[in-house]
Amino acid sequence: MRIARYLNIAFAAVLAAGAAHAELAGDAETGKELFDVCSGCHEIGNGAQDSIGPHLNGLFGRRAATHEGFAYSKSMQRAGVDGLTWTFETLDAYIANPLALVSKTRMSFPGLDDSQERADLMAYLRMFSDNPSNIPEAEPTARGTDHDVDPAILALQGDPEYGEYLSTECLTCHQSDGSAQGIPSITRWPEENFVVAMHAYKNKLRRHPVMQMMAGRLSNEEIASLAAYFKDLE
């Protein structure tokens, strides 16, 4: 497996240069097996075509929703405009939990918890990037970080009454009747998806500057309260 060896060598060089984390590189062979799960919707390699999802050649370094000819969801287009680019870090977060990065796409994949498996999968995907030499070595195909929202945060019970007050700030832009025009709808989301998305803004994984600012000053309890309020808003 020539490419895998190449990656290992490149990564060894990074380690030698004093990389902070001695982490394992992904194994593209294992990644290829893991890609079976993806292949129902995504093609990759020679002659790959778009199907339910876009083909994944040349993915690394590409701005989200910019592969021409594929009809991306509104949400994915918005994420691309907001500045989402597929790097090691963003792809790792996306594969860990697609909903953290982009809500309401056709991607029905629940996410890969195991960071080693994600690294393996990315090592495989990376073999098909148009120009792997352009991928900076500072972003090695290495072990992912833990992007999951702490289960204790997800378990927080929000106070819908507090959520109702906090929601008044959201409703200057987002419509309470759920209509979406230039600004997405935020009503009737499953609570967990709402919480995960807000924490992704708070942690600056999602890039929209207004939302980073708004989420940035909300406490975990306040986010839970908003989720509790909006889930039932008719």
């Binding site: 918005r78 691309g80 405009v81 907001d82 500045g83 009454e161 507090y162 109702e164 007050y165 906090l166 008044t168 700030e169 409703l171 200057t172 832009c173 987002h174 419509q175 309470s176 009747d177 209509s179 979406a180 025009q181 230039g182 600004i183 500057p209 207004v210 980073q212 600012m213 708004m214 940035g216 000053r217």
Partner: protein, 422 residues
């Protein structure tokens, strides 16, 4: 029951009160009463939230002279041809019918804070337990020598939207070929900091299509202005050579106008102009003075609940308030209104009171699909509304980002007007 509630104001309130939460502060007259003066982004929002969230326990009267309210925000887009005037006009039917607000189309002409009453031009008197003033702006007399409101048909301000916007647009469309549009920009603080410069962008957009040799002259008493780098980059890019700005270094702070002769005198040198948009220095809407709560041009308020520093039962929202770090904008007024509504409900019906949170975002359109924005979050401190965090669009952003920003502003317009008018 809503209709009954409205008909029985002041007389049969006891019958309706059984519907609702207990009124703890009604001063011996049944349902507590809130009077809101001004039906814009501050007043309409406050009235709607108090009525909606008190579920009938508070009697809300909204006093607004206009039957159709034209939002100042997006009125520049009307000048630029990006929206129709009727699309920024809103009526109060839903606030009355759906939320049971007693909407009174009249001018408030006096406030007696001892008797807790508001006198209306039509002769009637309204009693209140809590008064909310959201009267927007008035102009400082003599701010631009040669101009007063009697000259507003010759030299429109168009800083209250509606017929003034229509007039200014008609004048721009009738400009002679190669003519000059002049704007006398206001000193700080004023309503909508990026507003004059968005307006210049919109006028340039129209002139570029219809009158490409025309010129735009901005006479400005300020050294710097909101989103300056973004506007100047956009003007260079879209309207190169059309727009000239004279700042205070070159006499932009020493200006008089002659509406009869259609001239502007800039630091002793007279310019003949074809259209002149005079935006004078501003102060709180007149009723703030009549209520005796203003200190100088504006009304000092407590950040936690937007109550006036002169009277805890008089709250002041939006442009009229001297609150600290927030700009005078529709978004800010709407944000302050929701904090105020919560505090007023808490005081009158002992509903829960939560910590004040404020935010603001101002979008501006520079040209077709070229939108920019600036925004911040704020908190209440003992002294003022204090800025927490902020952001601004960057120069050199790509076209997709700018287009999305514009589309976002259109979405925001739909959101905030639904939040104000129901």
């Amino acid at each position: 029951m809503k209709l009954n509630r409205r008909l029985f104001i002041g007389t049969g309130a006891a019958a309706a009160v059984s519907l609702a939460a207990p009124a703890v502060m009604a001063d011996g007259h049944g349902k507590p009463r809130v009077v809101v003066i001004g039906g814009g982004a501050g007043g309409a929002t406050a009235a709607r939230y108090i009525a909606k969230d008190s579920k009938g326990a508070i009697d809300v009267t909204l006093v607004e002279p206009s039957r159709t309210y034209f939002t100042c925000f997006f009125s520049n887009l009307y000048l630029g041809g990006f929206t129709d005037l009727e699309d920024i006009g809103h009526t109060y039917g839903t606030l009355a019918a759906k939320y049971g607000i007693n909407v009174v189309h009249d001018w408030a002409v006096d406030v007696d804070r001892d008797a807790k009453t508001v006198a209306l031009a039509g002769g009637s008197t309204l009693k209140y337990d809590k008064l909310i003033l959201s009267p927007g702006i008035d102009f400082v007399d003599g701010a631009v020598p040669g101009w007063d409101v009697s000259a507003q048909n010759k030299m429109p301000h168009a800083y209250k939207a509606g017929s003034q916007s229509e007039l200014l647009k008609a004048q721009i469309m009738a400009m002679p070929e190669g003519g000059t549009f002049a704007m006398v920009a206001p000193p700080n603080p004023y309503r909508c900091p990026p507003g004059p410069y968005e307006r210049v962008s919109m006028v340039a957009h129209v002139l570029k299509q219809n009158n490409p040799t025309a010129k735009i002259l901005i006479v400005d008493p300020k050294e710097k202005f909101s989103k300056q780098a973004l506007f100047e980059e956009g003007w260079q890019h879209h309207y190169g050579g059309m727009i000239e700005r004279i700042g205070p270094d070159f006499g932009g702070d020493n200006v008089s106008v002659n509406p009869e002769a259609m001239t502007v005198d800039i630091d002793g040198s007279e310019e003949k102009i074809d259209v002149c948009n005079v935006i004078p220095a501003m102060k709180a809407g007149r009723i703030a003075d009549m209520a005796g709560v203003a200190d100088g041009n504006w009304v000092p308020v407590n950040a936690a609940d937007m109550s006036s520093k002169a009277d805890a039962d008089v709250h002041v929202l939006g442009d009229s308030a001297a609150q600290g770090d927030m700009p005078k904008s529709g978004f800010a007024a709407n944000s302050q209104a929701k904090v105020c509504a919560m505090a007023v409900r808490g005081a009158l019906t002992s509903s829960k009171v939560f910590p004040a949170k404020f935010s603001n975002t101002c979008w501006s359109l520079i040209d077709t699909d070229d939108g920019v924005k600036v925004g911040a979050t704020y908190e209440a401190t003992d002294e003022k509304i204090a800025k927490v965090d902020g952001f601004i669009s960057q120069t050199g952003e790509d076209a997709a980002t700018r287009k999305a920003t514009y589309e976002e502003s259109v979405g925001w317009y739909a959101g905030i007007t639904a939040d104000m008018f129901g």
